[in-house]
Symmetry: C2
Subunit: 314 residues, 2 copies
C-alpha cells in the first residue's frame, strides 16, 4: 500500500500556477512546493510538468533544480520524474560512481515487475543513448558483471505457473554450488536471472525445507566479498522486496551520518507502491516508527518532504 495522500480533486493548472508562484522572485517557497508535489501521484505530476511547460515555456524540473539545493533538491528531482525515468537516473548514477553501487542495480532489476524493468530500459536509452546493460557491462567486471548484466537484461515470466519438479532440482543445484562455495557458479546466475519470481520463491522454499536454513544464510561469509554481497541482495530483492527495503532504510538511518541517497531512494520509489507495508515492517523490527526515525535523522525542507511522502500529516 502507498503512503502518499492525494486529494480527490486536483487541478493541474492551479498546481502549475502554485509552483510558478513558489519559484518566482526572490527566495523560494519550499513549503508550497512540498504541499503541491508531495500530494500528487505520478500521473498527476506528469500532467503538472506538461501544464507548466505549456503555460510558462519552461521546464519545471530544470526550474526546480535551479531554485533548490542539497538533499532536498535531489529528493524533489527524483520525486518529480516518471518512475521509469527516475529508475534510469538512479541506475546511471549508481553505475557511474567510482565504486559503483551494485545493490541499486540489483534493486531496480529485481524489485520492479518485468514490464516496469523494460520501461526503465527504454527510458535509459532515451536519456543516455546507450542500453542499460551496455553501461552496466562497461562499468563492472568479473562475476559481478555477469550477475548484474543478466539481471538487468531479464524479462521474467510474470505469471503464476510454477514447476515443482524444476523447483526441487534447482534447489538442489543451488545447494550444491553453495556447499562447494562455488558462489559464482553459472547455474546460480542462470537460475536467479531467468526464472520467474514465483518459481524462485518455490525454489527458495524448497531449499529451506530440504536444508533447514535459507540460502541467504548459507551465503553469508566474507563481508568484504562484493560479489557475495551482490548475490545476497539479489536473492533478498527477489524473495521479499519489502523486507529488503526495510533493511535498506534501517541501515541508511542507523549509520553514523545518515545515508541520504539510500533513504531518499527508497522513500521516493516506494511511496506510491508499498511504503505503508515497509513502514509496518520497520516498526516491527525497530520498535520505533519510520516517521520518527526519519524525523530524528533529517532536517529542514528535506525532512518535511520525506515526512509528507511517508504520509505523515503536518
Amino acid at each position: 500500500m502507498a503512503t502518499i495522500d492525494v486529494p480527490e480533486q486536483v487541478s493541474v493548472l492551479a498546481d502549475a500556477e502554485a509552483l510558478r508562484k513558489a519559484c518566482k522572485g526572490w527566495g523560494t517557497d519550499e513549503k508550497a512546493i512540498i504541499s503541491v508535489l508531495g500530494h500528487r501521484n505520478a500521473v498527476q505530476r506528469k500532467q503538472i510538468r506538461l501544464a507548466y511547460e505549456d503555460l510558462y515555456q519552461e521546464d519545471l524540473i530544470k526550474r526546480l533544480e535551479s531554485e533548490l539545493s542539497g538533499d532536498f533538491e535531489k529528493a524533489v528531482y527524483r520525486w518529480v520524474l516518471d518512475p521509469a525515468d527516475r529508475d534510469a537516473v538512479l541506475a546511471n548514477v549508481a553505475i557511474k560512481k567510482l565504486s559503483p553501487d551494485h545493490h541499486v542495480i540489483v534493486e531496480i532489476s529485481c524489485t520492479r515487475s518485468p514490464e516496469e524493468l523494460l520501461a526503465v530500459r527504454r527510458a535509459y536509452q532515451t536519456r543516455y543513448k546507450h542500453s542499460l546493460e551496455e553501461d552496466v557491462a562497461a562499468h563492472t567486471k568479473g562475476d559481478t558483471r555477469k550477475l548484474l548484466v543478466s539481471l538487468v537484461s531479464a524479462f521474467r515470466y510474470d505469471g503464476e505457473e510454477i514447476n515443482t519438479r524444476v523447483a526441487n532440482s534447482e534447489a538442489k543445484n543451488l545447494h550444491e554450488a553453495v556447499k562447494d562455495k562455488e558462489f559464482n557458479h553459472e547455474e546460480i546466475i542462470r537460475i536467479l536471472s531467468t526464472r520467474s519470481k514465483m518459481q524462485l520463491m518455490a525454489t527458495f522454499n524448497r531449499y529451506r525445507d530440504d536444508h533447514g536454513t535459507t540460502i541467504t544464510k548459507n551465503l553469508e561469509g566474507d563481508s568484504g566479498d562484493e560479489f557475495l554481497k551482490t548475490l545476497r541482495a539479489t536473492i533478498r530483492c527477489l524473495n521479499d522486496p519489502k523486507k529488503y527495503f526495510e533493511k535498506v532504510l534501517r541501515n541508511s538511518i542507523r549509520r553514523v551520518g545518515t545515508d541520504e541517497d539510500a533513504l531518499t531512494r527508497v522513500i521516493v520509489t516506494r511511496a506510491e507502491k508499498d511504503l505503508k507495508d515497509i513502514k509496518e515492517l520497520y516498526y516491527k523490527r525497530n520498535s520505533v516508527s519510520l516517521d520518527q526515525a526519519v524525523a530524528k535523522d533529517t532536517s529542514g525542507d528535506y525532512k518535511a518532504l520525506l515526512l509528507t511522502l511517508l504520509g505523515k500529516e503536518d
Copy 2:
C-alpha cells in the same frame, strides 16, 4: 523491400468466407487458400483470423492445421501467425530439438529490431508460460549458453549515435581475444550482446581497417566447433542480415535433400520485410534466380505458396 503482392482493396469478411469454403466438405482447395493468404499482410491476416472466428466460432489456424499436411501445412501455419508469435514458435521448436538449432535463436535475437525482439519475448511467455531466456538457458550449456542467453535478453540501443573511441578500443579487444584464440572470452560476449547494431558495425569496420581482414574470417576454424559456428552466425546476423539470409537460403537449397524448415523460415519471416533485397543478393551470388531455385527444389502446394510469397505471378 517486401515481395508479397497485396491488392489495394481487401475484404476481410470475403476472405474469411473464401477460406471457410476452401476448407469445407470433402477435400481442401489449397489453391484458394494460397490465393487468399499468400496475398495478405500481417495486419490483414490477423483481421481475417478474427473475422473467421467471429463468423464460424472456430479457430482458423486449427482448422487449417487439420486440413493440411507436411511442409505445406507448416508453411501455412507459420505464415498465418503474427510475426512475434511466429518467432516465439520458431524459437521454441529450435530449442526443444534434441540437438537445438542455435542459429535460429541467433537469427531471431540479432536480425529483429530491439522492439521486435521484446515482442517475441512477450509472445513467448504468453504461449509457453516461461521466459524465452529461461528455456534457452535450460536447453543449452557452456559458452554457447552464455552467448545465446545474452543475445535473447538484449534490448539494444536502436539509435544512430556511435562512439568512435569505443569502436576503436573494442575492435582492439576483439582482435586480442581472437588472436589468442580465446573465442569464449567474456569481452566478446559482452560486446556482441550489449552494443547497438550501429556501434557494432563501426567496431567491425574498424577491425577490418586495422587488421586487413574481417572478424568472421578470423573466426573460421574447426568446423565442428558449435560455439564458434554460433559466434560467426551472431556476427553475420548483426552486421549484414540480408547477406546472412541469402546464405541460409543457399545452403537450404544446395544440400542433397532440401532443408525445408530453413527455406520456409526465411521466406515466411522475410516476405514482408526485405525478401526482395535478399532475392537480388541471391541472384548475384548464384547466377540463378531464387524463384527458379525454389521451383526446382520443391513441389505441389508447398512450392506454390513459396513462389507466391516470393512475389512470382502465376
